[in-house]
Amino acid sequence: MPGLERFRNFSIVAHVDHGKSTLADRILELTGAVDPRDMRAQYLDSMDLERERGITIKAQNVRLHWDDHILHLIDTPGHVDFGYEVSRSLAACEGALLLVDASQGIEAQTLANCYLALEHDLTIVAALNKIDLPAAEPDRVAGEIEHVLGIPASEILHISAKTGEGVPALLDALVARIPPPTGDADAPLQALIFDSIYDAYRGVVSSVRVFSGTLSTGARLRYVQAKAVHDAEEIGVRHPAPTPVAALGPGEVGYLIAGIKDVGQARVGETVTNAVRPAEELPGYRDPKPMVFCGLYPVDGDEYAELRESLEKLRLNDSSFTYEPETSGALGFGFRCGFLGLLHMEIVRERLEREYDLSLVATAPNVEYQLQLVDGRIEIVDNPSAMPTPNEIASIEEPYVNVTVLTPTEYIGPIMELCQQRRGEMTRMDYLSEERVELVYVLPLAEIVMDFFDQLKSRTRGYASLDYEPAGYRASNLSKVDVLLNNVPVDAFSTIVHRDKAYDYGKRMTEKLRELIPRQLFDVPIQAAVGGRIIARETVKAKRKDVIAKCYGGDITRKRKLLERQKEGKKRMKQIGRVEVPQEAFVAALRLDD
């Protein structure tokens, strides 16, 4: 086993599109880890979704050789939804490589992750990427980094991950500046799980960093949080091809397979120690806590069982989302699901549709509310249709977040306007340079989950970046808006909004439904109500005529088939009270973008 002083463990902290995956590809080539013939773009991103979106969802790690040193590159998810996963990846490192696009500047999530790295006492090596681009402004961007992070501009490296320029010097700098790990190979075992994936053949494969002691093949291991004991079936390192080893010592990073069938039993942040000679738990474990919720329903009610199976399978791979069965009058049988954030929600939904071939309808996302009831009880509500009636509620608190936006100064106005519309309060404004500014707001999370990202992007032509972190609960003047079809509430459309926005929501939804719901044999009122009070109303007028005008000898076969088809369509209708509604109408009404 090589001496500890030869190891360097580091993560790359970078914004989407700033070239992290390209740099990882270059490093794999330069260090000879991947044969040039086997090289492909975004080598470490294995999921289709990661490649398509150019993002990293799962942490990866790879062992590299450079100049007689052994480097462990830990590729982390960069998105705000996965902040906790990032913090565990950083906890596995002694250093972080901050990679910033020299034509763009540092972005909000990158900055947040950098602060996180500093909190973990990581050494930061900063590099400006894409210096080969004509639009690159390395001096300005270096100045920004110096301003916000205190890293001297003179220490910031200039590279092009695309051409490979400056990458060897960067690797040299990582070796020179990042301290080697420390730890006693003979002490009781302390290893951190910073990622777990589910493999259909091997079960759970965890990425681990050993802090002290030695992780040996065949050892009997204790998983502290899971309170479970497993045998280390296989231990190995990734070159990046997985290569079994007998043991991993302090400072080493690798993978661990221990016959576990569910990633929930080997969560990110878990401490692994020896069953017979246990060490103390590593600090910082946290249960993943869903922040955003929605109902997921199969478009075709017959696919309910498949959806349940798919959720079970997906959860083997991702223990950070939750699901429980729920029934909707409008949408039938489905599940109320909780996610770390909006991207996480989208990813889970997309994976269900893609990997399990399901067609799903998602209700509008919502957050979790804390209710103080009149009778003194406290209730947590993550589903608007489960909200008690207004007279039972003493007060409602909703989650707030601290939102950091980094933007070119020209967009300050539109961003402030957006944040004000979304009930935001500015807490700080800091000029990073003459051209870029950091805005910090406290905002209700519910306002973010609607379409805040999209609005921010469109108002800043994509130049602003966003990060947020929980900022506790605050009492708000919130109302539940019900939508009633022919006086029957339609659960899928119930929502909780600030009182000032109840009317807008009610009007928009009733108008949308009026267009989508086919005419019935009687007038169908569509109403939006807060408590018992109607705030918006539309009417689908009774249909007066549908009969086929002509039915003679040559029409009979065709018309009979037409009516048989209409009959089948009728059977598929959802019955809300006396009103028949095609499921497609509900699906269309739930689409946020229209």
Partner: protein
């Protein structure tokens, strides 16, 4: 209906001009085919040992576009029962006393005029060219020729037609004292010039509510004039109902002569090749002109009886006691509560509101006839 009823439908696929809304099998550029086509029809009939017809119907297209001799040549070939009803569809523009006399001599005893509207601007919007005054002349000529049974075909709900326009059309038609009027809601059929114009936004689509109002106006005025409703779109003086068309709705048998014609024999429905060329060719080669057919099973025939029967004043028979009859009975009660049907003796008949909502009534009844899963609409 007695089992001896048997109809012959002859399709004449030629027109002088195509109407914008028409989706029938008809052509305006096949004049050169007419002689061959007539000969093919004659030969087709001769080769088939058809039972004596109780009704013959020349439809189109525009049958009156044929020379009288051509039409009567076909008719002469068809064996007929002594009091057979023989109808020819006529364009009021292309008919005259001479032709009508020839028809009458050959046994034609009923004519059906495509009037559509008595308002010039409505006719123009339909892409029709005839002069409303021609209608009166044509009706007079038919009567002068000794053909007393006259039907006028009307269309309502053309965008641009006011209620007053429609009332004027009804009144003008009734002033001619026809024994029969068919009134159809203008329907946008796929593939027609009208459908293209509507899709392009060049023309407005007909409005269901406007058509419903006009239907009610028609039912009032026609009823007041002594024409009794007997099928969704048909009214007649009692005894003057079209026997041939009743065959369709009562599930009777009829033979198909000509291209695109449909026939029915004891549960087997068949249709001929669509173009006149292919029909002429098939007959010339001595092969069947049939392009396709369907044979319905028990439930299929039952569904068919329902969707056809419910359109008529006779309605459909209430189900007898049986496993499924309670669900059907519940459905009928619901439909009655909604004002769509009434019970007349042992039959169920659409109300005026029900006639307008005939598809709703039919699909609910069809669903009730289906298996136990068909609970929709019975709650």
């Amino acid at each position: 209906m007695s089992a001896a009823q048997f109809g012959v439908y002859v399709h004449i696929p030629f027109c002088a001009a195509r109407c914008d809304y028409c989706d029938f099998a008809t052509w305006t550029d096949r004049g050169h085919l007419v002689d061959d086509y007539v000969a093919a029809c004659v030969r087709d009939i001769e080769q088939r040992a058809l039972a004596p017809a109780t009704s013959v119907f020349f439809g189109g297209g525009t049958p009156s576009l044929l020379d009288a001799a051509q039409l009567t040549a076909i008719l002469d070939t068809i064996a007929r029962a002594p009091d057979a009803e023989v109808t020819v569809e006529c364009n009021p523009d292309s008919i005259d006393l001479t032709k009508l006399r020839a028809y009458a001599d050959a046994g034609v005893n009923r004519v059906s005029f495509g009037v559509q509207s008595m308002r010039a601007h409505v006719l123009a919007a339909l892409g029709r060219t005839h002069d409303p005054d021609n209608v009166a002349r044509a009706v007079d000529a038919a009567r002068a020729a000794g053909i007393d049974r006259v039907n006028l075909d009307l269309i309502y709900g053309t965008p641009g037609e006011t209620i007053a326009d429609w009332e004027a059309t009804l009144d003008a038609a009734l002033a001619l004292e026809p024994g029969h009027i068919s009134a159809y809601a203008l329907t946008v059929e796929p593939g027609t010039p009208l459908a293209t114009a509507v899709a392009d936004g060049a023309r407005a689509a007909p409005d269901d509510d406007d058509q419903a109002t006009k239907y009610e106006v028609a039912d009032e005025r026609l009823g007041a004039a002594g024409l009794v409703w007997y099928e969704v779109s048909n009214w007649a003086r009692p005894g003057d109902e079209c026997r041939h068309n009743l065959l369709y709705w009562e599930g009777g048998d009829y033979a198909a002569i000509g291209c695109a014609a449909h026939g029915h024999e004891a549960g087997r429905r068949a249709w001929n090749v669509r173009t006149p060329e292919r029909y002429v060719d098939a007959i010339a080669r001595g092969v069947s002109p049939e392009a396709g057919h369907e044979v319905l099973d028990g439930p299929g025939r039952c569904a068919e009886r329902l969707v056809l029967g419910i359109r008529t004043a006779a309605g459909i028979k209430l189900p007898g006691p049986g496993a499924d009859s309670s669900r059907v009975a519940t459905c009928i009660t619901d439909l009655a509560d909604l004002g769509l049907v009434t019970r007349v003796d042992d039959r169920v008949v659409l109300t005026r509101r029900g006639r307008l909502l005939g598809n709703e009534a039919a699909t609910r009844l069809l669903a009730a006839l289906d298996g136990p899963s068909a609970a929709v609409g019975t709650r």
